[in-house]
Amino acid sequence: MANENSSIQLVTNGILKENPIFKLALSMCPAVGISTTVMNGVMLGIAVLFVQVFSSVTISLLKNFIHPRIRIPTYTLTIATWVTVIDLTLAAYFPAAYAQMGIFVKIIVAFAIITMRLEMFACKEPVTASFWDGLGMGLGFLLGMVVIGFVRELLGSGAILGYDVLGFKPLLFFILPSAGFFVVGLMMGFFNWIEAFYAERKKG
């Protein structure tokens, strides 16, 4: 399988065809909880991207060393290590952003998307393919977070990246966690609609 898939295909697969948030519907907790502004989305997206790529590469490198009976604990250990690294780094060099999203960085350990990619892909495939797959998944997650954050920040507080663009707050509701589900639902529908649209065009 790895030979058939080029690196570009692996990356776009994660961004579009198997987008973690809109297609696989994994890791919805952060997508709903933290994506209240674009900046939060970007920061958490980058953290997940980092953890995903490093964990995928680590597991792929060590796949012969990991005993099959204890592979899940090893995945968790690997993820926890890289999460701690990014957590300490963000806390040290980006204190302002970290203050807002500190607890969400720590729960990356439990993100379904990362464990799932390690189990489905990295433990079977070579290192380079795992790297591209991790990059694709991370970018897909980053994209999802930014899009949701954009919609919620614009509608909820009338601003983009903290700059007031509308001058008023259209719907305060969008800042609240429950609105995250609405935005994710609408985005899922939108993604599926685009896909259906192109499939239709190809056919006829």
Partner: protein, 299 residues
């Protein structure tokens, strides 16, 4: 059996590698983190006092830190203050002054501690412990910075923490010698963005500025729309003299609550009220003792 041993061995190796990576990251980042925190605090102190990095605090001004401890001896409790000694600029060492709960002087002990180690909580605790003896237990509670100019008190800077709507809110306040508010800065909070997080906005936190002590003692939150001119003054959109006039006019006004975040607004206002009242009470006692015992301090 062999499988179990293999698993144990491999897991142990993995854990050791993971631990090494995490430990190395911690060592690398810890220094930067501490420097960051210190820089942020310094910046806040400067801005509360009306100075910036380009406009530094003159030499005649001094910042003297006072640390408050609770001392337990058996079932007896007393309050201990670690204060610098001697006049400003002389560096007369530190002293630990114990005061009983009803405000009378108990004893004073010399603490051997250098100027740069006083900020490190571990070193400080060890030095005080050595001064008071092993039979007493000490517990650090809070610290205050007394700002002086030519030996006269200019302001007090206090750290404070109180529960907000979600988690604790950490603030830093500046009071003048009559305990009126000079400024408020929100250091740390986890309130909802767009709602409670607005407590760090100028139009909310600057409401506390210039409130006299008498007003702070009975500070409440009102749910009413904020007058437009007041918002302009708080946000600094009009020139300083006019803004001051408007602030003066509203100085006996209660705090206007944030829209959709009454609990956060209330938490900040009662937190500030509590910190200020307690501080005023404690400092009066400390001053009484210092005067009564003729202890010379730089503030």
């Amino acid at each position: 059996m062999k499988m179990i041993l293999t698993i144990i061995f491999r897991l142990t190796v993995s854990c050791l590698i993971a631990g090494t990576i995490m430990g190395m990251t911690f060592i690398v980042t810890n220094k930067a983190k501490k420097a960051n925190e210190f820089a942020r605090e310094e910046k806040v102190v400067y801005s509360l006092m009306g100075y910036s990095h380009d406009n530094p605090i003159p030499d005649s001004m001094g910042m003297h830190e006072v640390f408050r401890y609770v001392v337990t001896e058996g079932d007896q409790q007393s309050i201990g203050y670690l204060v610098p000694m001697g006049a400003h600029g002389e560096g007369g060492g530190f002293s630990f002054i114990r005061i009983s709960l009803d405000g009378t002087f108990i004893d004073q002990a010399e603490v051997v501690l250098s100027e740069d180690k006083v900020r490190e909580i571990g070193d400080r605790d060890a030095a005080i412990q050595a001064a008071v003896g092993d039979s007493r237990q000490i517990r650090f509670t809070d610290q205050t910075i007394v700002v002086t100019d030519h030996g006269k008190r200019l302001a007090y800077l206090l750290h404070g923490k109180f529960p907000g709507f979600k988690t604790n809110i950490a603030v830093m306040l500046a009071l003048d010698p009559a305990y009126s508010m000079v400024g408020l800065e929100v250091m740390e909070h986890e309130e909802d963005p767009g709602l409670g997080a607005e407590i760090e906005q100028d139009y909310f936190k600057n409401q506390f500025k210039y409130k006299p002590f008498d007003k702070i003692k009975s500070l409440e939150v009102v749910k009413a729309p904020m007058p437009g001119e007041y918002v302009d003054a708080l946000e600094g959109r009009i020139d300083e003299a006019d803004a001051l006039k408007i602030m003066e006019q509203y100085k006996d006004q209660d705090i206007y609550a944030l829209t959709g975040a009454t609990i956060s607004s209330d938490a900040v206002s009662s937190g500030v009220k509590g910190i200020t009242k307690k501080f005023a009470y404690r400092l009066d006692i400390l001053d009484n003792v210092l005067e009564g015992q003729q202890i010379e301090v730089p503030f």
